[in-house]
Symmetry: C2
Subunit: 333 residues, 2 copies
């Protein structure tokens, strides 16, 4: 295992120490239980957004804490759900009196623990609602999930719902916008290589030198099919066809296209993927009106990519364009 780490057991804590040292203007990091809140939390009268999940997907979620996006993130151990305690303390720390929205990726542990945290927070008089993302069209059920997995749309949802909360929309309104984003978003990913969980010390799965996995999950869960590596054109066609046909997106639609790197894939390849995706969508009469290209929801050092499409309307486009100021995503501020 080749990683820039010290002790595999301390990876998350040392990462959080790094985030705390790097971004004191944007976030505050609380240890034991571990959670990250925006530096000016709680923001009075604003709906607070709390997300979280296993570590190893950076910059998601901790890197998305800040103005215009999340109020707090609870990072679990690598690929392991955070505890209800972490989520509860994060929820209490950012509650500004206008309610809290939990943004939960659809994995059994995350859903269960966020539900428990929401119950506990309600018991302390905090209004809590939840939205669960489940945008991955690859598989219906999987290793850690009943139903579809929550993947790339989570990043987009956190940005758009964050802008809605910043604009002082009510909890019900922010929740409705978040649900619209999840409902109009679809994703699928693929891997060229496995990743290695630090405390496991060996690759999560084995892929031959000439193989790839289509429909991979963000923890290395199996996808739809394992096959010989193929040109970017063919890979994008497989992913994008599955994504586009699922909603379905149709000719005349305007979309936000998110080409995501899995952690070990360089930007030069992501632009080649974007080029293929743009050509594919043109062929379907679908226009990319906004885009995001980079490694934002990762699987440690896995090589590969995922494609997420969100069908846009004026409301969503305006919220996407609004200023955001976080360690991982920033513009207009």
């Amino acid at each position: 295992m080749k990683k820039l780490i010290n002790n595999p057991e301390n990876v998350v804590v040392e990462e959080l120490q790094g985030i705390a040292a790097a971004h004191p203007d944007l976030v505050k990091v609380h240890f034991d239980p571990n959670y990250i809140v925006r530096a000016d939390a709680p923001v009075k009268g604003k709906v607070a957004l709390v997300s979280g999940g296993g570590s190893g997907h950076e910059p998601m979620h901790g890197g998305f804490v800040g103005m215009g996006m999340l109020d707090a993130a609870a990072p679990g151990a690598v690929f392991t759900s955070p505890t209800p305690d972490q989520m509860l303390e994060a929820t209490k720390a950012v509650n500004g009196g206008a309610g809290v929205l939990h943004i939960v990726k659809n994995y059994t542990g995350d859903v269960m623990n966020f539900e428990m945290a929401a119950e506990l927070a309600r018991g302390e008089g905090i209004e809590v609602e939840s939205v669960v993302t489940n945008d991955d069209v690859a598989v219906k059920d999987s290793l850690y999930t009943a139903g579809r997995r929550g993947v790339g749309i989570t990043v987009i949802l956190e940005k758009i719902a964050g802008a809605a909360a910043e604009a002082k929309h009510s909890l019900a309104e922010v929740k409705a916008i978040a649900e619209k984003v999840n409902g109009q978003g679809r994703s699928m990913g693929m891997a060229l290589t496995s990743c290695t969980v630090p405390h496991a010390g060996k690759p999560t799965f084995e892929l031959g030198e000439d193989e790839m996995e289509i429909g991979i999950g963000i923890h290395g869960e199996p996808g739809r099919t394992r096959m010989k590596i193929a040109p970017a054109h063919d890979i994008v066609e497989m992913l994008a066809t599955a994504v586009v046909d699922d909603l379905p997106y149709k000719s005349g639609d305007e979309v936000l296209a998110f080409v995501n790197g899995m952690g070990g894939t360089p930007l030069i390849e992501l632009y080649i993927v974007y080029n293929e995706l743009n050509n594919f969508l043109k062929g379907r009469g679908i226009k990319i009106a906004r885009n995001l290209i980079g490694s934002y929801i990762t699987s440690l050092e896995m090589a590969g990519c995922s494609i997420t499409l969100l069908k846009l309307d004026d409301q969503l486009t305006k919220l996407w364009d609004a200023p955001v100021k976080t360690p991982g995503l920033r513009w207009g501020a």
Copy 2:
């Protein structure tokens, strides 16, 4: 070779097509000869900054074209200098009448070709000055270089000189600021894995399963030493000691610390490296006043990192903080 590409021969052109499709609001891409200019080029009365070099280091340089940073970038083939023709056409395309500054990394081919392009541009009546970056403390001469290699400081210099040009400083002033940044900046990098140049089809060098290369160049050129992999703490100590002792940075200094990923290293590891660097510098009495953490000057999919320090003063800090709006670096706009 596992890459998200089509034909290895078309990697750069397809990447540029992707950039053109993704960012028409920020940049325009010209093909044959290949160069990228900011969408509103030429900007009248502003010093224009032109950089370039081999592809494979994305987002550098093409991703840094836009308001507050570069006016143009000339991308060569992967790890190959662009031609004087590309640089000349880029220079002419962005000349706004206030002169053009060429930002050149110290590699023999880049230096020679930029010199030729500058001569040709002068022949057409354009005032051209050059600054050469040579911040890599690892080795004095190397495979492609007489003297030190230009690495991480190039990213920082392009941002700071770009802000100075945006503020309508004169060509002489922008050049002086750029030279100050290079003079006060030092870097060193390391690799956990090799990278594979697409048209070569096999790793540039071989590293054992338990080995790393300290002082690596951004094209996989050999560094100072090959050794057994070590904890992040020890790696940072080796890199940072070489960097700090070279200038020398001294107690009381304020620095910009840039922790860069080589392309295949995930953000979670870069934050662990940043944490170690922050602790190391504290021990030396050096304060990190600004930072940049991410993969900005890469070596295709190489796993590894580099550390760059820039000694700050009020002028440089203010220019660093100024708004920038490029595909690869953006804030305040």
